[in-house]
Every structure is written in C-alpha cells, then in structure tokens.
Symmetry: C2
Subunit: 195 residues, 2 copies
DNA sequence: GTCTATAAGTGGATAGAC
DNA sequence: GTCTATCCACTTATAGAC
C-alpha cells in the first residue's frame, strides 16, 4: 500500500474513513493508532491531519455518518397504511441495512464510551429518532387493535436488540440465506406483538 | 486510596479484579492502563504483577470467572417438568443475573476481540453451553407440542439478544421495577414461541 | 508483598521542508 | 498535500532494594 509523494486530496479523505472504519471495528478505537490507519491508506501519519482535526473527530464522523445514512434510508420509505405491514417492512429493513454494514453497526454500538459527552449526546439523539419510528408503529398497531403490547417503549427496546443481534451470528454461506433469516425473525416479531 | 508500604496478599488480589472490572467496563480494555488499575487499588503498578502474569490474563480471568459463575448458577436450578415453566424460569433468571453484574456482562460481550485466539475459543465454548440450555428448552417445547418455533437455533440467538438488551436501557428507580420488566419480557418471549 | 527506578517501545499531534 | 523529524507523555513489564 506504500506510495511515493503526491497530492490526492479527493481520494485520501474517503480512504482514511474506510480504513478507520475497518480497523476500529476489528480492534477497537483505543487499540488502533493513527500510524496504523495511515499505513492502511498508504500515507504517513502526519498527512492524516490534513483531513481530520484529531482521532476523536474521526470516530464521531464515522458514527454520525452511519446514523445519518440510516435515517435517510428510513425517510425514503413510503409507509404502508396498516401497522402489520409497516412492522414487517421495518423488520426486514433493519436486518438488511445492518447486515450490509457490519463494521459501522459494530462501531456505533461498541464505541459510544469513547465519545466526548457532547458527541455522545448527538449520536444518542439520532439513534432515538430511529427507535421512535418503531415505537410509533407499535402504538399504531395497538390503536388499530391488531397488536397487544404490554409496554410500547419496552417492546421497542426488546425488538431492536433482537433484530440487531443477527449481526453477531449470521454469516453468508451458512445454513440459512438472509431472506430466510428475515422471515424467521419476522415470524417471531409478529407473534410477540400479536393480539 | 493511597497507602503506605505493607503486605496485603489476601485482599489485594480481589481488589485488583474489582478495579479492573469496573475500569474495563467504563473505558474499555485497551484504554485502561495498569497504572490506572494500580491507582484504584492503592498500590504501585509493579505490585500488580505479584497477582497476575500480564494484562491479558487479567481480562481473561474476569471473563472466565463471569461465565463460570453463570453456568454454576444454572447448574443449581432444578428444571421444571414442562417447557413453558422452564422457559419462564430461564427468562427471569437471565434478566436478573445479567442485571446484577452489568460490568461483567458488558466486558464479556465487548472485549472478546481483545482475547488471544486460544482464550477466545475457551470463552465462546462456555457461552455456547449456556445458549444450549435455552435451545434445549425450545426443542422440548416443540416436542411437547406447546411451542411453534420456525428454527430453534435462530430463536435461541434472537431471545438471548432480546433479553441481554435489558442491560442497555434499564435503570433502577425509573418508571418500571425489575420484576415488572421481567414480566413484560416474559410475555413477549412466551408469545413469540407460542403455538 | 510492595516499593522505586528503569528499560524499551508506542501513543497523538505538530513543524517545517518540498 | 505529503513527507520527515520530532516532542513528550505514556505504555507494559522487569530488577533489585527493603
């Protein structure tokens, strides 16, 4: 990956972010050095500081980018008119979206404690926006009389944790395909909130 | 916490483990220095090496101790004779046990990547033993005809993730008591596997 | 069993040359 | 925009005094 001198402003920035994402996910933020990120990109450590003010901003940028992308993807969805269909769409979306970016998901959950308090608050606010859509779906279902949920806030946390857990065990090429896994989880989600 | 010289072999060992558990959970293994642990205990960094060979062994010992305790607690339970009661007992046990030791649970999930491959394999084997009991309960329920589960392996991972998630949001003194939370989760678990 | 001192190396971040 | 060189604080772990 070693390069000789030269200017590459338009490609080095994204490459720094990609390298940091991969390394932070595999080794953890605290265990990764700026020199290691630079080596992956093919520059010297000093060059990183043309793109980021410090290591903390690099971490925050990765987490914020991930959550912005998540919320943008939700904003692009046209909601079904009934709660059951909305919940199925949300379930399958969550599994697929998180499956497609395991490194970003891992970092967004594991490195929260390495954020400054201000950055932590901003990330948590974005995450809460996402969770609120699921709670909204559950409340709609209760109002429609198609769901029976003891507590919509608790059910939201329970379902999000269940769905995100797919990333901890699912591997491509195993016994089940991702659409099969989606269907199994949807069955369990549907029944858990059924009347 | 500063102390003057003296011998304290019988108390320093446990105090090192307690301090490391707390600090690793709050800041992460890689971000905590041996000096920091020593300062919490009230000794100099060099004294730690009378109790542990190195930092890695300290981490592994904490995780192994946690999982040994978990499996010992399960071994002490007399199983009910029907799958529904067994599953309710497992659900409430999991929530309570994990609630009682949030730092150990956090470390056991978050610091797996900081284990050497050999240590990682030993920890994963212990965790699988615990998960196997839940899958066994689900299979028993299917055999008895009281559960309808699309895939017992996937359902096991889904339910464990859901139950462990309680630790990420539940705080004592909030809107709900822990027994109330247990009951809400048991309702969702029961329905998700119901026939 | 704990201390002090130290070895040998790595950390994030900056300065100035090109 | 990237390089080399550097600052200095900090890292894990060990040696030997007490």
């Amino acid at each position: 990956m070693a390069r000789t001198q030269g200017s590459h402003s338009d490609i080095t920035g994204p490459r720094i972010r990609e390298a940091a994402l991969r390394l932070f996910a595999r080794q953890g933020y605290a265990a990764v050095s700026m020199r290691q990120i630079a080596a992956e990109v093919g520059v010297q450590a000093g060059a990183l500081y043309n793109y980021i003010p410090d290591k903390q901003s690099l971490l925050f940028g990765l987490m914020k980018g991930h959550l912005d992308e998540l919320l943008a993807a939700r904003a692009a969805v046209v909601p079904a008119d009934n709660a059951v269909d909305r919940l199925e769409e949300f379930t399958r979306f969550h599994i697929r979206f998180h499956h497609d970016r395991p490194d970003a998901v891992f970092i967004a959950y594991m490195e929260l404690r390495n954020l400054t308090p201000e950055n932590f608050a901003r990330i948590e606010s974005l995450r809460r926006q996402y969770e609120n859509e699921l709670e909204d779906i559950l409340r709609q279902g209760v109002t429609e009389g198609v769901f029976d949920v003891p507590d919509t806030k608790v059910a939201t946390m329970a379902l999000i944790a269940m769905l995100t857990g797919v990333n901890t065990w699912f591997r491509e090429g195993g016994r089940l395909s991702l659409p099969e896994v989606e269907t199994i989880y949807w069955t369990m989600v549907r029944k858990s909130v059924a009347r």
